[in-house]
């Protein structure tokens, strides 16, 4: 059964030229194996799953899998690196055709991913570098996220201000965002980092709020807070509100959720802008990249999902209240034109 399908897949590889030639003319004709999508099994092997971001990512994966009509299995290791590697083996044993590895540690996933590739399974990885040329890496560009937010901060405040910066070292996306922050500090000598703080103690917003209050009372002349993670920004906003400084401090962040939208839209909110990649879109892109591989096409080794800048003014002008309205009213947020061959069915926009 499996063997015949894989042979079919190899056949499809040979027929690739024909299918891409005919692709534009017959957009509805999907290449094998998606002409019979019910037979295609894919697995999502997760390392991180709790939190709005990961929930939204999963919904994107589910939506795109449904649009393709493939059978999706979700294996969730709940931050257990060893278990995640075992789950890849489990997926191999299940006889899946493709695997999406979502987060994890390079050290534990590198060999597991290689085993899957050796078993003839197509693999893509999101936000974990498995150091394998056969495996496309899906990324949200953290450097671009930070750059968009900081460019907006400079557009709003000029290039000379005293800043508070929220950062916890050792978390890959935050480290990448930190690189951009360093570049900006080097480029604009007027940016003066008066304080750096941050914690991952949960509830994160509450813990960061406590810290930010201390920082604000020690440095009352801070005018810009760069908090490149929305939980950080939420905490800073609570502190700014409690200190009665909403009019004097401006907050720039990365990532977004429904509750962030509400916080940004509060009257007189200090939270001016955030740069975000829609996690649901990243989920869709992950499945699409895998589907291209399965159809014998090449999505490229680095698939980058571009971020969108979302300002308080945009949210107010368009009266956006939640993530769905954000997607509907800022189309660049709802859909990324990444890995969309002509035959690819897209999830219906809600």
């Amino acid at each position: 059964m499996h063997i015949s399908r894989r042979t079919l897949g190899k056949l499809a590889l040979g027929l690739l030229g024909a299918s891409t030639l005919g692709g534009t003319a017959l957009a509805q004709d999907k290449p094998a194996p998606f002409d019979n999508p019910g037979q295609v099994k894919i697995a999502l092997v997760r390392y991180l799953s709790t939190g709005d971001f990961f929930q939204a990512y999963l919904s994107g994966v589910e939506a795109q899998a449904k649009a393709l009509g493939v059978d999706l299995r979700v294996l969730d290791s709940r931050q257990d690196a060893a278990l995640q590697a075992d789950m890849v083996d489990q997926a191999i044993a299940l006889g899946v055709d493709g695997i999406i590895i979502q987060h994890g540690l390079t050290e534990s996933m590198k060999e597991a991913a290689q085993r899957a590739v050796d078993a003839g399974i197509k693999v893509v990885a999101f936000d974990v570098n498995v150091e394998n040329p056969a495996i496309p890496q899906i990324e949200q560009s953290d450097r671009d996220l930070a750059r968009l937010a900081l460019e907006q901060a400079i557009a709003d405040n000029g290039d000379s201000w005293k800043a508070g910066y929220v950062y916890v070292a050792g978390i890959a996306p935050l480290d990448r965002r930190d690189e951009t922050w360093r570049e900006f500090k080097a480029k604009y000598s007027g940016i003066n980092e008066a304080a750096m703080f941050g914690t991952m103690d949960n509830p994160i917003a509450n813990s960061v709020a406590n810290q930010a209050r201390s920082v604000l009372s020690a440095n009352p002349d801070i005018t810009v807070m760069f908090a490149p993670y929305d939980e950080f920004a939420k905490g800073v906003k609570i502190a700014v509100d409690e200190a009665g400084l909403s009019a004097d401090v401006k907050i720039y962040s990365a990532d977004i959720s429904t509750s962030d939208i509400a916080a940004m839209r509060e009257p007189g909110s200090a939270w001016m802008a955030t740069a975000a990649t829609n996690p649901a879109v990243v989920g869709q892109v992950s499945v699409r990249a895998l589907a291209m591989l399965l159809a014998g096409e090449d999505p490229g080794h680095n698939v980058v999902v571009p971020p969108t800048l979302i300002t308080q003014a945009q949210l107010n002008d368009n009266d956006i209240k939640n993530m769905e309205e954000l997607g509907a009213k800022l189309p660049q947020f709802a859909h990324a034109d990444v890995v969309v061959p002509a035959w690819m069915p897209l999830p219906a926009v809600k």
Binding site: S49, T50, G51, D52, Q55, V168, A195, M196, F197, G198, T199, M200, D201, N202, P203, I204, A205, N206, S207, A209, N210, Q211, R213, S214, V215, S217, A218, P220, K234, I238, D241, E242, G244, S257, T258, S259, I261, A262, A263, K321, N322, M323, E324, K350
Partner: protein
């Protein structure tokens, strides 16, 4: 009152016979606290101000309230690992009542308190009647609640205008009265100085301190904790006292959850593990205050403030978060040394 004799039994030596060592045990920790305050006052700009003082209390209000609750279970010789997740479950419950069900502040608060009472009763039932050891029963409860709080929303955090699993948009909002619990400030000397959470902390600390030290009920809880068998033979309804201790702990944790929800303005998915650890640390540091060498409400409150002073001062001096964890741990170790090594009554 019958408590006169027990009160004397708790102070075996007359006060005037204290040696230097006794002074160190009794006042060492308070002296350390005073020293810290003076040091930060000189070293960190803006530390020595009324706003800063109030803020220290505010930053520890939630963990402090949880710590007072866990003190009650420590008093009866038990332990409650579920307080952190009770707090976050209460936070989710209040958000759910208001945002999804469209309830008002009163309903939300009632729902939270009900969560606390029910969890406390179940914990007590498991420990007393099912004979599950306290650590294990409350550990199980902790995991159960971390999962339970996610079920109604399928793992999403709750915020105004959120999309429900079935695709509809939640219509309710956080009621302004409820948010005021986290954000309103009373005037005290200065306008808008004192947040409600601090008032709640102080009131609860005084109530539980009076309850444990001066009521028959509280003294009996200590008796159950120090020698359960003796208390039973003396005719005390030991099981009832133990269950009550867990109910107190659950209710205090849910009050902490209410204040957390009111401050954040949303229902955040969180395990509450850090809340648990910080509040247990505060309660254990409390053992060392005034050389009590036993769980006590006054010590717990001082312990919470101690941690608050330390974290506020260190953050103002730009110390990174890991040094703060390190110092928090060091303080706890020192406090436990005060309690168990220096104090002759430390052998429990």
């Amino acid at each position: 009152m019958a408590s006169d004799t027990t009160a004397q039994a708790a102070k075996p030596r007359p006060v005037n016979a204290m040696s230097a060592r006794d002074y160190a045990i009794r006042y060492g920790f308070l002296a350390l606290l005073a020293g810290l305050v003076i040091y930060f006052g000189l070293a960190a700009d803006g530390f020595a101000s009324p706003q800063s003082a109030v803020f220290i209390f505010q930053s520890v209000a939630i963990t402090g309230i949880l710590a007072l609750g866990v003190t009650a279970t420590l008093v009866v010789g038990g332990f409650d690992l579920s307080i952190g997740s009770v707090a976050t479950t209460a936070m989710m419950a209040s958000s759910y009542v208001m945002v999804v069900m469209g309830g008002d502040a009163l309903m939300a608060v009632a729902a939270c308190l009900a969560v606390g009472v029910v969890v406390g009763l179940i914990n007590g039932f498991l420990i007393v009647y099912m004979r599950v050891p306290d650590l294990l029963a409350t550990l199980g409860m902790m995991f159960l609640l971390v999962g339970l709080q996610r079920i109604p929303t399928e793992g999403r955090s709750i915020a105004t205008g959120m999309t429900m699993p079935d695709g509809s948009v939640a219509s309710g909002t956080f009621s302004p009265e409820f948010l005021a619990l986290g954000r309103h400030r009373f005037d005290l000397f200065l306008p808008n100085l004192l947040p409600i959470s601090v008032v709640v902390l102080v009131v609860l600390a005084i109530v539980i301190w009076f309850f444990l030290e001066y009521t028959r009920f509280g003294r009996m809880m200590y008796a159950v904790g120090s020698n359960e068998r003796a208390a039973q033979l003396a005719g005390a309804p030991v099981n009832a006292y133990k269950i009550w201790a867990y109910v107190i702990s659950g209710v205090f944790a849910s009050i902490g959850g209410i204040l957390l929800a009111a401050r954040l303005g949303r229902g955040d998915i969180a395990s509450g593990n850090n809340l648990l650890l910080d509040s247990v640390a505060a309660a254990l540091i409390g053992f060392a205050v005034l050389g009590a060498a036993k769980p006590n409400a006054l010590g717990t409150a001082v312990g919470a403030v101690f941690v608050g002073v330390l974290l506020q001062g260190l953050t103002m001096m730009n110390a990174p978060y890991y040094t703060q964890d390190f110092i928090k741990g060091a303080v706890l170790v020192v406090a436990l040394v005060f309690t168990f090594a220096l104090s002759k009554r430390g052998k429990r």
